[in-house]
């Protein structure tokens, strides 16, 4: 089945993206990337220490994987832009996940500042994937600003609550055309990842649920399959749910001469 995901100028055969934080050890993280077949991972610039060669997080990411630096720690657009510049200058490429969070209790993204940062970085040639609150106006503004994808949160980050934002995400899926929709935070189980794909998301990004599992590589593989199953179901067109049994003899049959 030729079903590639296109983000910016790159093609991906896997629709499962992985976050690299929160793992108990970096080797488990590496194995999770390998076992899931994920081709795109996100790494916080703040976690990268170039002086530390032996345990540098980047050296645990398999070759060929697209690395998307994220702006974790940015509280406004200017800080996100600054982090992106540092990342590019340090040679980490120009794929950037914008996280602008000025709320340390719930870690909710600030859509307005995210739009500003997206506009600046996209105009500078970055491939920008912004993390956002699922709001239609903000999503449209992000696309206009040059985002290569839109990444709405499924529920609060780290909550494992799944698609609490389902209705709003469905609106984005329906209305946003031209860039992929990647469900980013709160996906706690492979079945929730499958659900996101079934409703039409183009990809899913997970971190906590994988990193926190007893066996992260196995959980990563399970997530990848959940994403794949959801995608296949979407393509196969899921039958509509029906409230009850459908009568085999139509109730209105008596109106017609048959």
């Amino acid at each position: 089945m030729d079903d590639k995901l296109i983000v910016g100028t790159r093609e991906f055969t896997s629709r499962f993206f992985l976050g690299t934080g929160k793992f108990g050890n970096k080797e488990a993280m590496r194995q999770a990337i390998v076992s899931s077949g994920s081709q795109l991972v996100t790494v916080a610039l703040r976690r990268i220490d170039l002086d530390e060669t032996e345990e540098n997080i980047l050296s645990f990411i398999p070759e060929g994987t697209t690395i998307m630096v994220n702006t974790s720690g940015a509280r406004n657009a200017a800080e996100a832009v600054r982090i992106a510049h540092i990342a590019r200058d340090a040679g980490y490429g120009d794929w950037i996940k914008i996280e602008v969070i000025n709320d340390s209790r719930y870690l909710l993204p600030d859509n307005q500042e995210t739009i500003k940062a997206t506009r600046i970085l996209a105009s500078e040639g970055f491939t920008v994937l912004p993390y956002m609150n699922p709001d239609l106006y903000a999503a449209k503004a992000l696309v206009d600003a040059g985002a290569a994808a839109v990444m709405p949160l499924g529920s609060l980050i780290g909550s494992n609550q799944g698609l609490r934002m389902r209705t709003l995400i469905e609106v984005l899926i329906e209305e946003i055309t031209g860039v992929p929709i990647v469900v980013d935070a709160g996906i706690g189980r492979p079945s929730q990842a499958a659900e996101a794909m079934e409703i039409g998301a183009d990809a899913v990004l997970a971190n906590t649920a994988v990193a926190d599992a007893e066996d992260p590589p196995l959980m990563a593989a399970a997530f990848a399959r959940g994403v794949e199953a959801g995608r296949m179901a979407r393509l196969a067109r899921i039958g509509k749910e029906r409230a009850g049994a459908t009568a085999s003899s139509p109730l209105t049959g008596f109106l017609y001469d048959e």
């Binding site: 703040r46 709320d103 926190d212």
Partner: protein, 350 residues
């Protein structure tokens, strides 16, 4: 998570529920809190613990705190202050152990350790570490702003006690005697732009229940007013110094666990640190239940990292966990944690 024992919902802990928790001694409830706190910490922070080390650049003090062996009139205590050149070498010695996160401390003497002196030290430390925090006397908002621009990522300031009367009794003289200037300090830090603020009370000075409740309410108020600030908590326990005959209310290990788990459940995202003033066995046990940060390979002596030997003598505080940076890392790895050395990059002055 459903309702726990005593009808307390641990997944939506309220300040009133914490009051009830603090008042009951219940093994079953504590066990449930430990489970809930461990689960929540893993979800929020993963299996990671960040490491840091304190660096004492001076130990002059102008205050008279009765519970502290370092108070101003303690003439037998050797006092010193590092020059900028010594600070540079001391930073290099600490960084050579692998540490990337430093907490710079001075005694509370504005005369000997002026804001200018602290700022110069921060500029030097920023060249050696990816994260620079300060634990110094309270400053004005503008002074904090200058320190922020010089590279300060975080400030630690303990209120000691929230009981005004007790505070007055225990702080006999010096600038620290002014309760309000200290209690209002976190707001000045928040307004200056500084990112992280660590707060705490010195447990044991008065009834810990009242102090911890007041601390929680203080932090919750600040969280709402300054949501962009990342708050941290620490729960230092008073260790009685010689010749101090005041009455204190010591906090047991069980009470410590109760405090820490309540803190985690009430503040899902705050950083919680545990210092080397706790014994290794206790640190290793408690770190699963909310801790996000711990000091490692600490010296509390001015110039202690360069000297190497005798680094535990004459320190501001006795170090009860003498393990090296590498030993702490090995312990964390063995317990299934990733010891995080770098988790910050200053974007203000880089």
């Amino acid at each position: 998570m459903s309702k726990s024992l005593h009808g307390i919902d641990l997944s939506h802990l309220t300040i009133e529920a914490i009051r009830r928790i603090f008042d009951v001694e219940d093994r079953g409830l504590l066990e449930e809190m430990a489970h809930a706190a461990r689960e929540l910490t893993r979800r929020q922070f993963g299996r990671t613990i960040s490491l840091y080390a304190p660096l004492y650049i001076a130990n002059y003090c102008q205050n008279e705190c009765v519970y502290c062996g370092f108070h101003a009139s303690q003439k037998s205590m050797p006092r010193s202050k590092l020059t900028m050149e010594q600070i540079d070498r001391e930073c290099a010695a600490l960084a050579a152990t692998g540490n990337r996160s430093v907490l710079i401390l001075t005694g509370e003497s504005r005369f000997h350790s002026s804001p200018q002196y602290i700022r110069e030290a921060v500029t030097i430390a920023s060249r050696h570490f990816s994260y620079v925090a300060l634990e110094v006397y309270p400053l004005d908002e503008e002074e904090y702003r200058e320190l922020y621009l010089a590279g300060v990522d975080g400030v630690t300031l303990y209120q000691e006690t929230y009981d005004r009367v007790r505070y007055d009794e225990l702080h006999l003289a010096g600038p620290k005697k002014v309760y309000d200037y200290r209690v209002q300090c976190p707001e000045r830090i928040a307004r200056s732009g500084i990112r992280h603020i660590s707060m705490g009370a010195l447990l044991g000075l008065t009834d810990w229940r009242r102090d911890v409740m007041a601390l929680f309410e203080h932090v919750r108020h600040l969280e709402k007013k300054y949501p962009g600030v990342e708050f941290g908590l620490a729960f230092p326990r008073l260790r009685r110094v010689a010749d101090d005959e005041h009455h204190y209310q010591e906090v047991s290990d069980r009470e410590m666990l109760k405090i820490m788990t309540a803190a985690r459940l009430f503040f899902p995202r705050v950083g919680i640190s545990i210092s080397t003033r706790e014994l290794p066995e206790f640190r290793d046990r408690i770190l699963e239940f909310g801790v996000t940060k711990m000091s490692a390979g600490s010296s509390t002596r001015v110039g202690g990292y360069l000297e190497g030997e005798n680094k535990y003598e004459d320190g501001q505080f006795e170090v009860f966990d003498p393990r090296s940076f590498d030993e702490i890392k090995a312990m964390l790895t063995a317990k299934g944690f990733d010891p995080v050395v770098t988790d910050w990059r200053n974007i203000v002055n880089s």
